[in-house]
Amino acid sequence: MGMIFRDSGIAGRTAIVTGGGRGIGREIVKVLAAEGADVTFFYLNNRGAAEALQAECGASGFNVTALPVDVRNAEDCGRAVESVLGRTDRIDILVNNAGVLRDNLLPAFTEDEISDVLATNVLGVFHITGVVAPVMIRQRGGAIINISSVSGEKGGKGQTNYAASKGAINAFTRALAVELAPRKIRVNAVAPGLIDTDMSREVRELAGDQVLDRILLGRYGTPAEVASVVCFLASRYGEYINGEIIHVDGGFKMA
């Protein structure tokens, strides 16, 4: 783990990363911590992975705290953010990364497959951002980065629920950017394509070489390649970027 940017302005900042225990979120936690941020990451189930990440970061001298939080539960989110504030009294960076996939063809969806995805991917973002935004408004500054997906813009079989959730996040990002801009709070989204994580494994295995052929760069992305863009948006180098959806997909969206 090393710094990506020199003098990024992230050192000493306080960051929250939801869904930080695994995959892309885990890498975002590591990158922000390496830049010198005090990072609290929320995780839902995998306590072992969360503790391992916290220990790994601690061993590197980074300031990282793991908190079990169910973003689907608004009260849980409120308590978690209060607990971060109790320690740091500010929140400079919020990365809404928690998300789930429940692919199926539309007529075959169960109610749970629809509601689980919308509750985590959409309502979860409302819950956390709803309690963090007033803090940033008070501070007159902050950066909110939502993790969207190429699915929010590019159609994909079996993903109507996930695509709808990520399309919602894109719209949410633009609307909130307008709302919070007067207080110098930037809101952007990063839309990864097919990234080499546990969460996307099933999609990648099902799609096989067929989908790889449609990625212009001819390979899957890595969590670190997404995390570095998140870090850029959180840094002083991204200070004039607002309301954008940045695609990190090797050209998949265009193919």
């Binding site: 007033p134 803090v135 408004i137 008070r138 709302e179 919070l180 007067p182 207080r183």
Partner: protein, 135 residues
């Protein structure tokens, strides 16, 4: 405790949120018309009051309280009825009479808010949210 004891801190927070000098804040001034407060400022103001006074102000509380006991008679097509207007005048008794206009839009109620309005809200919530914030 009364609103006089709360006012200095409320004024300090209002001045900070709206970027005015404390000396420029009048207790019965209109936050919207005199100090250019926008909706995001009200959010900030309530958030800071909540933290300063260790209270929780339910969102939309003022309008809900102003409607209490009137239900649908309060407004008609988004505008205050005569009854609604009288009810609102009683509820926002700290607001000078000439700022209320007949058939005013419900969405414009926040334009009536003054620093004293927020003192009353704070006092009410500090006392357990039981008494009506009517003066």
């Amino acid at each position: 405790m009364n609103t006089d004891t709360i006012y200095p801190k409320v004024r300090e927070i209002i001045a900070d949120v709206l970027a005015f000098e404390e000396s420029e804040i009048q207790r019965d001034g209109s936050l919207v018309d005199d100090y250019s407060a926008e909706s995001i400022d009200f959010l900030d103001l309530v958030y800071q009051l909540e933290r300063e006074f260790k209270i929780k102000v339910p969102r939309g509380m003022i309008e809900q309280e102003a409607r209490r006991g009137l239900s649908e008679d309060f407004e008609e097509h988004g505008r205050l009825t005569d009854k609604g207007l009288e009810h609102l005048k009683t509820y926002l008794s700290e607001v000078p009479e000439d700022r209320f206009t007949p058939r005013m839009q419900v969405s414009l109620i926040p334009t009536l808010f003054t620093p004293e309005t927020f003192c009353k809200i704070v006092l009410r919530e500090m006392e357990g949210g039981e008494q009506a914030a009517s003066g």
